[in-house]
Symmetry: C2
Subunit: 146 residues, 2 copies
């Protein structure tokens, strides 16, 4: 059994909820993807495969997947939420190209330290963070520096 399925089953069971066919379809579709995606996209993909699932169930299930720690909402400033995998991905932040919209992931160990320092100085109990850097990606600059 795929690890995400086991986790989802366990999480649901521990809350007295059921692993239904609809939830299975949505889980599969969410983990077939390997980029950031939107709820409406997911719904569209599922319907294209003639698997009928309601919009309400998609939204409800994505919320459950977030609660179970399998997915995460990530906000790129548009008018809709985006989701990404948590399972199998370490924490990372994002570069966002303002010209082509490309999203590039990165991690930087110093950022974690800096976060600790800021929290200490501000007497804040920081639990999580998001850093987004907006600019122009290398492709859009035609691979010329600056």
């Amino acid at each position: 059994m795929r690890p995400e399925e086991r986790i989802f089953r366990n999480c649901l069971a521990s809350r007295g909820l059921r692993y239904t066919p609809e939830r299975n379809i949505i889980l599969q579709e969410a983990f077939n993807r390997h980029d950031h995606f939107e709820a409406e996209d997911l719904l569209y993909s599922i319907r294209k495969k003639e698997k009928r699932t309601s919009r309400a169930t998609v939204y409800r299930t994505l919320e459950l997947l977030v609660q179970c720690g399998l997915l995460q909402v990530v906000d790129f400033g548009g008018n809709s939420h985006h989701y990404e995998h948590v399972l199998g991905h370490q924490h990372h932040d994002h570069l966002i190209c303002e010209r082509c919209g490309r999203i590039i992931e990165f991690t930087h160990r110093q950022l974690e330290k800096l976060k600790e320092k800021v929290c200490q100085e501000m007497d804040f109990d920081g639990r999580s963070h998001t850093l987004k850097i907006f600019g122009i990606c290398d492709q859009c600059r035609g691979n010329t520096k600056r």
Copy 2:
């Protein structure tokens, strides 16, 4: 003349646009505030003072104020945009208390350096960034550490 008014007038003039009474009211109201605010709040405040202004004009004018560099959109993850002053405020980032919703501003000079480093390593021309740290504020922890 208040500096924000001069800037707004100049910016509008340079684009062949007019400084109207409605735009004046909205500018004033936006700069009376000294925290993060939403378009609907602003509209409500204006109407409470019996100054009739349409929702469309408020949204349109806020957009102009952003384009003129007087305001900035800042996203706290809710379902609506928030605005904050740019004029008279240096760049800063935000701590967001997940219990009481309080927004705390901070600046940290190392963050700018780190951003430069990340951009260099990733071959990305970074123009701006936002860092949000989510957690629990000192007040919500009852002023006890951790």
